[in-house]
Symmetry: C2
Subunit: 217 residues, 2 copies
DNA sequence: TAGATTGTTAATCGATTAACAATC
DNA sequence: TAGATTGTTAATCGATTAACAATC
């Protein structure tokens, strides 16, 4: 009897994996072949055991004494995060943030393939932004139904967010990368990853204050 | 003897506070005056006790039966996160992401005041992006020394990130909001908040996979 | 008053860290 | 071989959740 394991990966682990990934890419560039958890931990200011545990999730096998083969580990992380298979994505909202998303060529490295963008502004419709065509928001459903689009990036103002999300879901989208600062009400079969800049900013600004508080003692 | 408490706030709490904040703004718009932890929790799909604990960090006092006064709670969160006091900030790297940051007018709502942007591209220097002047990267130090700049937003390619960080720090910057996908090597008196998009994307793409794995059982 | 909600202490859960045998 | 490193189990730490008296 074969063992089936689908332990869900802790979010902190998922957030650290890209950090390992980027470090590994740079080590590889430098012509290095192997790396140990000790070295990764030192570079990223983490605990070696934690690094090993995280890496273990990707199901790669290391070798005592030498550590992990860098190329293999890169591949392993890519596969684990599905960054090695292309997914069709759409962007809704071509404001400054949306435009940046389309311009961020690197997304193809993460398997994200923008096939269309949507907006309600008449003057934008039909134009191209960084090589991606902008369609009328009202045509969202049929376009994402046609190409099998799984990921929707939401970069509209709060007022328009829920409607945009609803339309995406009706078109068959399974996961929403939400940059609008609000909670989307969706069926629990739909995945929402909130990526509001304000979350990260809150961590920064509060920690600055706490740093000052500590110093003033 | 006065009690001095400087318990550092857990990061998960800091990440949730902006979510409360945005919800409260919308409730206030609707003319609602008070809200209970139960309601907040329901809206954001959290545990009521957790909401109360988080809110407690901001040192507001609620009232049994009625909950919290929305205006007071908004003010309390803003103060706690230092979003009510302006901080001078600079942006380094005016690529698509950097441009989006400057265009994101909302930052002023979070107390972030961009006084300058920097790049090495000759053709950009002297121009304005969304009302913010672009300076030569080499002049970074003197400009940030002049205006008391505390926060630096780093949106340059990996290769340029460490040098840019070093220069910021020499100019007196205390905190770096890092969008470059690499670990910055800085003195431990300097605060670095990593905000790589790939971190959030990793959570999304892996969770999609785990959702499929679960469904296929 | 009765009942809902806060503030807070205690219990639980999960992630991080420590310890160490197995291994190359 | 000796020694560094992995893989894994156990201990610790911290965040989440439960329980409940105080309170409006």
């Amino acid at each position: 009897m074969k063992e089936i394991k689908i332990r869900t990966t802790p979010e902190p682990t998922l957030r650290r994996l890209p950090r390992y990934y980027h470090l590994l890419l740079r080590l590889k560039e430098r012509g290095i072949n192997d790396v140990s958890s000790t070295v990764i931990a030192k570079e990223l200011d983490l605990d070696p055991t934690q690094v090993r545990k995280d890496i273990e999730y990707t199901e790669i096998i290391g070798r005592p004494k030498t550590g992990y083969n860098i190329s293999d580990l890169i591949k392993s992380i890519r596969t684990f995060l599905s960054w090695d298979t292309n997914s069709n994505a759409v962007l809704v909202g071509t404001g400054s943030l949306g435009t940046a998303m389309l311009g961020y060529k690197n997304f193809s490295k993460y398997g994200l393939n923008f096939i269309a963008a949507f907006d309600i502004k008449k003057e934008l419709i039909g134009k191209e932004i960084h090589g991606v065509k902008v369609y009328n928001f009202n045509d969202l459903k049929e376009i994402i139904e046609k190409d099998k689009v799984t990921i929707g990036v939401l970069a509209v103002p709060v007022e328009a967010a829920q409607e945009a999300a609803d339309k995406m879901i009706k078109g068959g989208i399974k996961a929403i990368w939400n940059y609008a600062p609000c909670q989307l009400k969706v069926d629990n079969s739909i995945l929402v990853e909130n990526a509001q800049l304000s979350q990260s900013l809150a961590v920064l600004t509060r920690k600055i204050t706490e740093l000052y508080l500590k110093e003033s003692l």
